[in-house]
């Protein structure tokens, strides 16, 4: 396909987005139903043109069209097909186009599935959403056009950064963007509500599915990014508190708070103004993340190119949308009617506590991430805020959140019974104490953190199960009734419990890995052995191998435990020929939930090769727990009450369709 088609489609998309910003909102203000109805059609057309532009760029990459500058700079004809496709968004211009594509998809989904929304709200939502699209399309067309041609075209491209030539690039950015950009919809809903000056519990019911979708994708996106960094960078770390990671964590905290406060708003008509603010904050933090990553103020693997005009442009977008929405909030929010009072000890109270602590954690990450940038701007002093800061602040703030987590769902709305909840959680307490004791025994002394954290994780997991059993009434009502009630529980109840279980699993993995991991850095010759985490590793041989666009030096290790053969691990040093750049391909062997991790260093004098080996107990639980969290979100989403297009009970419910029991 001709790249000019893509360029032209983008320009058309910009024109459509401008219309979509103006017409529906104007229609909503003047009460013109015809103008309001234009919104959905424009949103779908917009998505079509952006998709066409994106497909054009993908085609240019697949065909290795080196007349396109973007392809020349980031591709190579020898690259495998998968990486030629993923390379489309493995660079600044392409990733911004993906950003806008996701934005367009979400807009089209609102247009297609939002037919139960009031016409004026829908019109305003689509209008606000389109305004974000206008800003980012202008950004792409004016500063980051992926369709620029080169004359004459070179014979070969410069290849993609080898670190990005990985399946992770196919998974991590699209998932993360579905999360980041998904919050644009909740933002649009919040701003639309402020424009209308009216908000009620129904609003929360419309917003919750979008917030849940964005949150689940963001959770997966962050987890997959973490796993990718873990196996690709060769350092065995899964979280570095790198500013770029923090940029994704801040909207995650805000989004987590949002999906909880939206529940209060839907059920109890309370916390309305606060929920609106959270919806604005979640997307503002997403925009901030985009700014930090894309503007080049930070140097990292994510900052593909540093061009000051781009930074200033994104900063302008950031100031306009965050400043504008907060100003609108300050102006209109006081007019929104507050409702629903509750006692401090109640479900609402617990959710308020959750919200306070999550936003405080988000703020702590914000300060730690931006303080060095601010300090350098003011007095030129260069500092680093490292992991100890984040571990201390986020850890201390998350501890009460995790501890309170099983209590919240057991408290009644309006006025709860804390002692009763504690009593019903006795089983979970017991499980926690047993696990803590087992952990302390396994550890045999040492820091108290590990047993305590693992006990807490068990408390959360069992607590989530207790919640479901309590709601079904097992032990209080006849068994058959309890079974019937259990089957009748709304899927959002199971979703919430599953997500909480995921937190517990993830916490267990984090605590086990940080307290019990073992690391060995040694120089070994072929035939020599060393020990890590109770496993004996022998370097069997070093062999060179040829890949399509790289050369490998592979170290093959035999693994033994207690004299018994436990397989082999292959770890490689990879040289990409086009850029002559080495990467480390860590060798990982998963044993149960734990992993042996081996990465190869340089060849040292005396024929030895440097080896870094880790034993990472229960490390996979960190990512498995995150996946369970996202599954919990998906399960909640499948709850009929929340389904975007089905406000009323369907005529023919499926066999397993739950009955709303609340």
């Amino acid at each position: 396909m001709n790249p000019e088609i893509g360029h032209y489609a983008l320009v058309l998309a910009l024109a459509i987005a401008i219309l979509q910003t103006v017409l529906p909102i104007w229609g909503a203000r003047s009460g013109d139903a015809a103008l309001m109805r234009v919104g959905p059609a424009l949103a779908i057309a917009f998505a079509g043109f952006v998709a066409l532009a994106f497909a054009t760029l993908v085609a240019a990459y697949v065909q290795s069209d080196f007349s396109v500058l973007n392809v020349v700079e980031n591709s190579h004809s020898m690259k495998p097909l998968l990486y030629r496709i993923t390379g489309t968004w493995g660079n600044h211009e392409g990733s911004m186009l993906l950003w806008v594509l996701v934005l367009a998809i979400f807009g089209a989904l609102v247009a297609l599935f939002g037919y139960n929304l009031p016409a004026s709200l829908k019109a305003n939502v689509l209008g606000v959403q389109a305004s974000v699209a206008v800003a980012f399309l202008l950004f792409i067309l004016l500063t980051s056009n992926p369709f620029i041609r080169v004359v004459p075209p070179p014979a070969e491209g410069q290849d993609l950064n080898p670190i990005l030539q990985d399946i992770g690039l196919a998974i991590h950015p699209p998932l993360l963007y579905l999360g980041y950009v998904g919050f644009s919809i909740t933002f649009a809903f919040a701003v639309a509500a402020l424009i209308e000056g009216r908000i009620d519990a129904a609003w929360a019911r419309w917003v919750r599915p979008w917030a849940l979708t964005a949150w689940a994708f963001l959770t997966l996106g962050i987890a997959m990014g973490s796993y990718w960094a873990y196996y690709e960078l060769g350092w065995g770390g899964w979280w570095f508190w790198d500013p770029v990671e923090n940029a994704s964590l801040m909207p995650w905290f805000a989004g987590t708070a949002l999906i909880h406060s939206a529940v209060v708003m839907e059920k109890r008509d309370a916390l309305k103004v606060w929920t609106i603010l959270l919806a604005i904050l979640a997307f503002s933090l997403s925009l901030l993340g985009t700014f930090l990553v894309r503007s080049g103020v930070l140097t990292s693997v994510h900052a593909f190119a540093t061009d000051p005009t781009r930074g200033v442009f994104i900063l302008a977008i950031l100031v306009f949308f965050i400043g504008g929405s907060l100003a609108l909030y300050a102006w209109r929010a006081p007019a929104l009617r507050q409702g629903g009072i509750f006692a401090p000890v109640s479900r609402e109270g617990a959710l308020v506590l959750n919200n306070l602590l999550l936003t405080a954690a988000s703020a702590a990450v914000f300060v730690g991430t931006l303080y060095p940038l601010a300090l350098e701007a003011f007095n030129g002093e260069k500092i680093t805020v490292g992991p100890p800061y984040f571990n201390l602040t986020v850890g201390a703030l998350m501890l009460p959140v995790v501890f309170a987590m099983p209590f919240g769902p057991l408290l009644a709305w309006k006025r709860g019974d804390l002692a009763g909840a504690a009593q019903r959680l006795m089983v979970a307490f017991g499980a926690g104490i047993v696990i803590a004791a087992l952990a302390a025994y396994a550890q045999g002394g040492g820091p108290i953190l590990a047993p305590f954290g693992m006990g807490l994780a068990a408390f959360v997991v069992i607590g989530a199960a207790v919640e479901i059993f309590e709601r079904a009434g097992f032990g209080r009502v006849p068994f058959a009734t309890a079974i019937a009630r259990f089957r009748g529980l709304p899927r959002s109840a199971f979703g919430g419990a599953l997500a909480h279980t995921g937190i517990g699993i993830c916490l267990f993995g984090i605590i086990a890995e940080t307290s019990w991991n073992a690391e060995r850095i040694v120089g070994v010759k072929v035939g020599q052995s060393f020990e890590v985490g109770g496993y004996e590793l022998t370097l069997a041989r070093l062999e060179p191998r040829e890949g399509p666009n790289y050369r490998d030096l592979v170290g093959v290790f035999n693994v033994r435990r207690g004299g018994v053969d436990a397989g082999t691990i292959e770890s490689a040093k990879r040289i990409f020929t086009a850029r002559n750049m080495p990467t480390t391909e860590a060798g990982i062997r998963t044993i149960g939930f734990s992993q042996l991790y081996v990465s190869l260093g340089d060849e040292l004098p005396g024929g030895t090769v440097g080896v870094r080996a880790y034993w990472k107990p229960f490390v996979t639980l960190i990512w498995l727990g995150s996946i369970v969290m996202a599954l919990g979100g998906a399960l909640s989403l499948s709850d009929r009450r929340l389904r975007v297009g089905a406000p009323k009970p369907a005529k023919k419910p499926k066999a397993a369709a739950p009955v709303a029991a609340e």
Partner: protein, 148 residues
Amino acid sequence: MTRKGRRLLLIGSAIGVLGIACGLVLFALNDTIVFFRSPSDIAAERTAPGTRLRLGGLVEKGSVAKADNTHVRFVVTDGGANLTVNYVGLLPDLFREGQGVIAEGVMEPDGTFRADSVLAKHDENYMPKEVADALKKQGVWKEGEATQ
């Protein structure tokens, strides 16, 4: 409890949480930030032994000495001053002589620097921003100059 009392309690607990968060942030910032220094800065300031900092500069050509027990010694220079760095561990993939490097660790009493981490770069063209600034100050490196 009255409606007003409840609201006060809500606001009170919000302020409480914020207060605790602020306290934590200030305490943690005070304790855990690490300053960036170039070899010239360290020479000028006579940095006390035991001070934790991030050292940045260029790896001096021909200075890298590796032993077979993964002990590495190299010299970091910014053109104005040199500093010897000792490090036990594997060097990042893109560690090369003549290129930018950032090492985090502590000053030793003998005036050398003991690094516990040497930072990996993600790209062969990437010059850590702090290093580029430090080098510009010493007039060694100019904007736009190739870093290899």
